[in-house]
């Protein structure tokens, strides 16, 4: 289990300084973005389709370098990291993709265990944790099923389990509840919330589900025309008043 260290709170978990992104010679997808997310924070990212949410997330999970500016994770400017250091940094980031990106030739269990295998862990070390996590997301009976035999909601839960199995310092989720029913959506949000509160995981959720945003008292960042603005209290006024954001959850 990841231990919280005092120094984790000394520096921003995510820091974007004047970040712009341009693909080839097209218009800028992201323009001059400044953002600081403290360790252990919970944030929503929203915006219309095509506003650049996925592009911004790509910068955060280090799949894409910015065209301009600097992306720093856990106090380290990523532009100065070697390839091996970038890999090590990615291991501290869990990602839930909108389209799941599960590997169809692997079982549910193997998909969730994949990041641990990448980290060089032995199966004997992680088997129980992976099985327990899958039971927790309601897939205890589906351990050895292939993703293609699972429903969309089940696949989404596998993707989430895979993202959190390493107990990452930063969890990035792109529309994580898009394919599940409201009950499961609330349950998954509880998982994110617990990771955030219990382990201090910094969570960034990209969504345009206002209902989801209202469930948790958290800053909301909106992307529009490649610019990022914070919308505290405007989008989710009811959430501001809650003391227990999970009270309404099943």
């Amino acid at each position: 289990m990841t231990q919280l260290r005092p120094d984790m709170f000394d520096e921003a978990a995510v820091r974007l300084d004047g970040v712009s992104l341009r693909y080839d010679s097209t218009e800028e997808t992201l323009s001059g973005i400044d953002l600081v997310l403290k360790p252990g924070s919970f944030s929503f990212l929203t915006g219309a389709s095509g506003a650049g949410k996925s592009s911004l997330l790509k910068l955060l999970y280090l799949a894409q370098p910015p065209s301009q500016g600097e992306v720093s994770l856990f106090g380290r400017p990523t532009s100065r990291l070697s390839r091996d250091e970038l890999s090590a940094m990615r291991r501290r980031v869990g990602v839930v993709f909108q389209e799941f990106r599960l590997l169809n030739h692997l079982t549910t269990y193997e998909n969730v265990a994949l990041p641990l295998r990448v980290m060089g862990r032995k199966e004997i070390q992680y088997r129980r944790d992976v099985e327990e996590l899958l039971r927790w997301v309601g897939l205890g009976e589906r351990l050895h099923k292939r993703p293609e035999t699972l429903s969309g909601g089940e696949q989404q839960r596998v993707a989430i389990a895979r993202a959190v199995v390493t107990q990452p310092n930063l969890l990035i989720a792109d529309e994580p509840t898009g394919n599940v029913d409201p009950d499961m959506a609330a349950r998954l949000m509880r998982l994110f919330y617990e990771l955030n509160k219990r382990l201090g995981t910094t969570v960034v959720i990209a969504t345009h589900d206002l209902g989801l945003i209202r469930q948790i008292d958290a800053p909301v960042y909106r992307l529009a025309d490649g610019m990022l603005v914070q919308e505290n209290g405007e989008v989710a006024p009811t959430a501001r008043r809650r003391t227990d954001p999970l009270r309404a959850m099943p």
Partner: protein, 290 residues
């Protein structure tokens, strides 16, 4: 019992089956070319060793008696192992392709021939034979077979270079094909590579997956190619031995330890080449992403 964990790369698909066939065929041709090069070299060595030290002496204006006397003279020279004058029947047999079975016209002056075998280390034997016959009053021409052997050796060395070039070309082709196939496999499995990449897999880790996959593919395809080459050589040997006559100039096919070593090494080289091509291709491809 818990199922065994699957490889992070999916099982082979049709593309890899096609690649398996291509690599196997290239290994078959490479093994066959290597065996041919080795056989040709062996045959050339055997043949040149055989003719080394052999001379044919032509005596002009001499009869059978004079030829026998000259042969006895040459047999006494230092370094000469045997010297034997050809009989009329042997000379007629040699000339039969030109003059037919009816034999030679009686008035046609035909030189008498003497076959001389000298010791391999005999120095300047051709010149000494010529001098001895001249001193004895014979008009003679001495033909050293080793001079012909030099030409044959030269020709065979060119054949050997050609065979080795073919082996090198086939190897390079195999590497290029594997590199191309690896690139295609990488594109086809971009989703897997992306997931591994985002999960924090180092380039070496991802390259290692492809290297293991293509090492095994090269090894298995190379083994099949080498086995087919072995079977082909065995068939050629069997066909060669069933013939009634053998030409000393043709390479004699056989399977000895070095031949088997070639067949054993072929799949290993194929596997290593495949591993190398896959590793380089994947690393280069990964370097193009963050």
């Amino acid at each position: 019992m818990k199922p065994r964990e699957n490889s992070l790369l999916p099982l082979e698909d049709a593309r890899e089956a096609a690649l398996f066939f291509v690599v196997g065929a290239l290994c078959f041709l490479a093994a066959l070319a290597a065996l041919s090069a080795k056989s040709t070299y062996g045959a050339a060595r055997a043949w040149t060793a055989e003719v080394e030290g052999e001379y044919t002496v032509s005596l002009s204006g001499a009869d059978a008696t004079a030829a026998d006397e000259a042969a006895r003279l040459l047999a006494g020279l230092d370094g000469v192992i045997t010297a034997r004058a050809f009989s009329d029947a042997e000379i007629n047999a040699l000339l039969e392709p030109n003059f037919g079975k009816s034999g030679l016209p009686a008035d046609l002056p035909v030189p008498r021939l003497i076959a001389v075998t000298g010791a391999a280390d005999a120095e300047d034997l051709g010149a000494r034979i010529s001098t001895a016959l001249h001193d004895a009053g014979h008009s003679a021409a001495v033909d050293a077979h080793a001079e012909w052997a030099g030409d044959v050796r030269h020709m065979l060395s060119i054949s050997r270079i050609a065979a080795l070039s073919i082996v090198a070309l086939l190897s390079a082709t195999a590497i290029a094909v594997i590199a191309f196939a690896t690139h295609a496999a990488l594109l086809a499995r971009r989703d897997i590579v992306d997931v591994l990449h985002v999960a924090g897999a180092k380039d070496r880790f991802i390259a290692g997956l492809f290297e293991r996959r293509f090492w095994l593919l090269g090894l298995r395809a190379g083994t099949v190619g080498a086995l087919v080459a072995l079977a082909s050589v065995a068939v050629l040997i069997a066909l060669g031995r069933s013939g009634t006559e053998r030409s000393g100039l043709l390479p004699q096919l056989s399977l000895d330890f070095p031949d088997l070593a070639v067949l054993v090494v072929t799949p290993v080289i194929a596997g290593l080449a495949a591993r190398l091509a896959a590793g380089i291709t994947v690393m280069r491809s990964l370097r193009s992403v963050m």
